[in-house]
Amino acid sequence: MSETTQFRVMDFDCPSCASTVERALSKREGVDEVEVHYSTGRVEIEYDDSVADLATFEQTIENQGYTPQPA
């Protein structure tokens, strides 16, 4: 089943950091579409919930050095 989830990352410190997170998330298995916005810190992920889960996404964002918050 395709699901959509949102996170907030309030501590992006440069526009390219947001793009790096976007790329990292889009490489995760089961992720269909990712949008990461530097200006608002909003992360929107469309994914297949039989393959991917929220914890993986949070981990991915944290690995990049940022703090995901539930939207």
Binding site: C14, R23, H37, G65
Partner: protein, 671 residues
């Protein structure tokens, strides 16, 4: 403190801790460096400082490289590693520490900008008191269903969108519309989630809850606007993509030529595109956030930049400059009782949806029932019994609208009396219309009537003629009061060097009177055909049919960046045609919010000069930021090439320029 909470504390403040530790190590390493005996210890501590501060940066740089995006962190990592490799430990530690500190401060200040909308979100209460099965129950606000009755006590925030069904109160709508004065709400009035009930207790029938409220839609809209890239932003983004690899190439080239490692590493650091890429989004996000809190929704950075160039504002007259509440000012019968004139006009206009028609019908209904007096022979005997309060108007037998001119209706008077002159259908032909319609139909306007009409029109009133079977029997003069704020707003715009134009379907004389009252200056005397005349400035265009307005706006755009202010529904085509379409009173109408480039949530004209000034300030702010960024890089580059700027100094100035750009952009939050 147990280990769990220490861990949590660390996770939460990780960045600050890293910056602090790296800074302390850097300071002690630097101090030790002054004592020659401790050279090795100093070097070790400085390397440690670079590793502590640089670990996260290097990790991101690794991700940047593996995902083929060369970013600022790649440059910084290269510079630090390079500095260590050539033994410049102090430089390496300084670069890393300054960059980590800068990033931490950038993240913190951006968080503030990103939070500008948070206070709007917090406006909505979490719980609502609903009436279920005859009992009052406290439930989560998002679980209230449409149709349920919510009770809101004085001083409480309204938890849902809905219509008042019981009670009366003053409601502070600032969170949604930006209006500071409370608005009176009674039976049937619409209220919005997040607004504050100030005086009386209200019962509200829910129309939307949870994410389906006006406030939520505003927030989503504002976020979408903040995320949409403006032209400047996408140009800079595209530029930055080639810029970073370019800087690396330049640095390698410089090393090849000069063999000076420090010089080429310094080039890496100062070449970071920080301030340039951060500037425009910070300005735009701040401005859009500020506007949202003041009841102005901007569609996006693109539109904001465009709005900054506005040099002409066209206003639709009815409902924009005026209150849009047309009322009958005077009914004058010529050889016929005033009441009968009004009654016949109301019958003819009953099925019309024009705002003038509504005013006539409302005025006729408001008259006390006059069934007993002979003047109302027109009232059909077989219509429903006249009610005591509202007077009912019979339907016409048929009616035709002549767009922009009036209506032609037929009405058969039952039984005796009346009767048409030609007798073919046994009824009356009633024409309610302007001079154009009468001329078209070859109906003579007596001098007495024409003079009366002129007199009313000079006061800014719209007059219609009532014709029964080809003879003018009376006139109805209608008035739509100017908004109190209109003259001040026109004045403010003109003072700011912005031209103003009023567009209206009214005739020349009425338009001139209203334009004069509103303070449109530079009025010129002119003949009929106003719409086809040459474009004047600070002017008005009269006698425009709805489709003409779009053409006029198109024409204005030839020499101007033109904004058009209208209601967002009737004026939708001209709003779409204008460079910047501004819809007023958009709180209740989602289409207006969707289509307009700028939507004023309240019917508050004062927001227009505010929005125009904010847009101009934003445009300047973006220029300032881009200018500052380019200037910094140029000066630094010159400094590096002439060896005045070292690695650490380069990083310091670079980070300072980034913070300066953010601080400058954030000024727009408090514009």
């Amino acid at each position: 403190m147990d280990t769990q909470s220490v861990k949590q504390y660390y996770r939460k403040h990780r960045k600050a801790i890293i910056v602090a530790v790296s800074g302390l190590l850097y300071a002690s390493g630097w101090t030790l460096g002054y004592v020659s005996a401790f050279d090795t210890a100093s070097a070790a501590i400085l390397i440690l400082a670079a590793i502590v501060g640089g670990y996260d940066i290097a990790k991101t740089a690794y991700h940047e490289v593996t995902s083929r995006t060369l970013g600022i962190k790649t440059l910084v990592t290269l510079a630090a590693v390079g500095a260590i490799a050539i033994g410049s430990y102090w430089e390496a530690a300084a670069v890393v520490f300054l960059f980590a500190l800068g990033s931490y401060l950038e993240g913190r200040t951006m968080r503030k900008t990103r939070n500008a909308l948070e206070e709007l979100l917090e406006m909505t209460p979490d719980t609502a008191t609903v009436r279920r099965d005859g009992e009052q129950k406290e439930v989560p606000a998002r679980e209230v269903e449409a149709g349920e009755i919510v009770i809101v006590k004085p001083g409480e925030k309204i938890p849902v969108d809905g219509d008042v069904v019981e009670g009366e109160s003053a409601v502070n709508q600032a969170p949604v519309t930006g209006e500071s004065a409370p608005v009176h709400k009674a039976d049937g009035d619409e209220v919005y989630a997040g607004t504050i009930n100030q005086e009386g207790s209200l019962e509200v029938r829910t129309t939307g809850s949870g994410t389906d409220t006006t406030l939520q839609r505003i927030i989503q809209r504002v976020e979408a606007a903040q995320e949409a890239q403006s032209k400047t932003e996408s140009i800079i983004d595209r530029f930055a993509k080639y810029y970073t690899p370019g800087v690396i190439a330049l640095s390698i080239g410089a090393y090849a030529v000069t063999q000076n490692a420090i010089l080429s590493l310094t080039l890496l650091v100062i070449g970071c595109p920080g301030a340039l890429v951060i500037g425009p989004p910070v300005s735009i996000v701040s401005a859009i956030g500020n506007a949202a809190r003041n009841g102005v929704l901007m569609k996006g950075g693109e539109h904001l930049e465009q709005a900054g160039k506005i040099d002409l504002v066209a206003f639709d007259k009815t409902g924009t400059l005026t209150k849009g509440e047309t009322t009958v000012a005077d009914v004058e019968g010529f050889g016929v009782a005033d009441d009968e004139v009004l009654e016949l006009a109301a019958i003819a206009e009953k099925k019309s949806e024009h705002h003038l028609a509504d005013a006539i019908v409302a005025a006729a209904q408001d008259r006390p029932t006059a069934a007993a007096d002979g003047g109302t022979a027109a009232v059909r005997a077989d219509t429903e019994p006249a009610s005591t309060d509202a007077h009912s108007i019979p339907d016409p037998d048929d009616f035709d609208v002549v767009a922009g001119k009036g209506v032609i209706a037929h009405y058969e008077v039952s039984g005796e009396a009346g009767g048409s002159s030609d007798g073919s259908d046994g009824g009356w032909e009633i024409v309610v219309g302007n001079r154009k319609l009468l001329d078209e139909r070859g109906i003579d306007i007596p001098d007495e009537v024409a003079e009366y009409v002129r007199e009313r029109e000079d006061r800014g009133e719209t007059v219609v003629h009532i014709v029964r079977d080809e003879a003018v029997i009376g006139t109805i003069a209608m008035r739509d009061e100017l908004r109190e704020a209109a003259p001040g707003v026109i004045d403010q715009l003109q003072d700011a060097g912005i031209e103003t134009v009023m567009l209206t379907g009214d005739n020349e004389r009425v338009a001139a009177a209203v334009a004069r009252e509103a303070g449109f200056t530079g009025l010129q005397e002119r003949g009929g055909e106003a719409a086809t005349q040459e474009v004047g400035i600070d002017d008005y265009r009269a006698e425009l049919l709805p489709e003409d307005k779009q053409d006029v706006v198109e024409g204005l755009r030839e020499d101007h960046t033109a904004a058009m202010v209208g209601d967002g529904i009737n004026d939708a085509p001209s709003l779409a045609t204008a460079d910047v379409g501004i819809a007023m009173g958009a709180a209740g109408t989602d289409t207006a919010i969707e289509t307009a480039d700028m939507a004023l949530m309240a019917d508050d004209l004062e927001r227009i000069p505010y929005a125009v000034k904010l847009s101009k300030a934003t445009r300047w702010n973006i220029y300032e930021n881009v200018g500052l960024a380019v200037l910094t890089v140029t000066v630094l580059l010159a400094g590096v090439l002439t060896s005045y700027v070292t690695l650490a100094l380069g990083m310091l100035v670079h980070e300072a320029s980034v913070l300066a750009v953010i601080a400058n952009g954030m000024r727009l939050l408090r514009h």
